[in-house]
């Protein structure tokens, strides 16, 4: 299995990013920028990734949503690393990092879903039936509507 950590995505990431070594603090401070940059590239130009990068990104997506198995030792070191980043850059940095990870996650989820023919069929069907029976949901009728659906 290709691991995202082993790839550098040099064709989508500005060369300047690699001028900072991993050991240098600026490498990590720019991580949200890197993730957002990859997310934008995923949305706009999925084709520019190599097969290995695509596989690594999709594997990474499934790890992000909790599908893959992460060895306990990696979980611990990951948590320690986040703690270190929290101490070095503050809680707002962790929020920015979290937003960037979410951004990449949504970009990848769309790639996976839009590549599924069944999803496209179901979406097409939902759009085709758009003018068929519909119900207005007011604030007052919301509970009653939900109960009826759940009946």
């Amino acid at each position: 299995m290709v691991n995202i950590a082993t790839l550098e995505f040099r064709h989508v990431i500005p060369e300047s990013y690699f001028q900072g070594e991993r050991e240098k603090p600026e490498f990590w401070s720019r991580l949200p920028f890197l993730l957002n940059h990859i997310a934008r590239k995923v949305r706009e130009d999925w084709d520019s990734f190599s097969p290995e990068e695509k596989e690594a990104l999709i594997n990474f997506y499934y790890l992000l949503i909790g599908e893959g198995k992460i060895p306990i030792i990696n979980r611990i070191t990951g948590l320690l690393h986040i703690l270190k980043l929290r101490i070095s850059y503050g809680s707002s940095f962790i929020c920015t990092l979290n937003d960037a990870l979410s951004n990449l996650k949504y970009a990848l989820t769309d790639i996976v879903e839009n590549s599924n023919p069944q999803y496209l069929r179901d979406l097409g069907e939902a759009l085709k039936n758009i003018h068929k029976k519909e119900k207005e949901i007011t604030s007052e009728s919301l509970d009653e509507w939900f109960e009826k659906v759940d009946d």
Binding site: Y62, I65, E67, G124, E125, A126, N129, E134, S139
Partner: protein, 140 residues
């Protein structure tokens, strides 16, 4: 997109059917989860009355690609991403597809599903197909 007048919210038959399936598949044996989910859905619907593309810590919305020529100039397709309460992995990744009609000031809920319905962790073959697909949007 938002104005002083509130937006009208409508649910299509397909939305109701998909919601029914979701409740049956994931919350039949979990009344607590169902209650949490109901509260989340209610809060989302109420937010839509004033903000058509809400973004909070619990949910995120983005424009969704629509099949070409399927929408009018005043219409926009949107996808809401949210976490389904008490579910993990692909099953916990909830989505709602809805249509924003600016002319009628109306929002139609079209479809609710979980990521699990369209892909669990892809088997190697699917993964390979996806990688080969060159990122082109398949036609409907």
């Amino acid at each position: 997109m938002s104005g002083s007048k509130k937006w009208t919210i409508k649910a299509t038959e397909d939305f109701e059917r998909s919601l029914k399936d979701l409740l049956k598949n994931y919350y039949k044996k979990d009344p607590k989860g169902k209650t949490e989910f109901k509260l989340l859905l209610k809060s989302f619907i109420e937010q839509l009355r004033t903000t058509t593309l809400p973004k909070t810590s619990l949910l995120e919305t983005k424009r969704e690609k629509a099949p070409s020529k399927s929408l009018g100039s005043e219409q926009l397709l949107a996808k809401l991403y949210f976490k389904l309460p008490r579910l993990r992995g692909s099953a916990g990744e909830g989505r709602i597809i809805y249509l924003i009609d600016s002319e009628k000031k109306e929002i139609k809920l079209l479809y609710i599903y979980t990521h699990k319905q369209y892909s669990t962790r892809p088997p190697d073959k699917l993964l390979k197909d996806l990688i080969k697909q060159n990122g082109k949007e398949p036609g409907l």
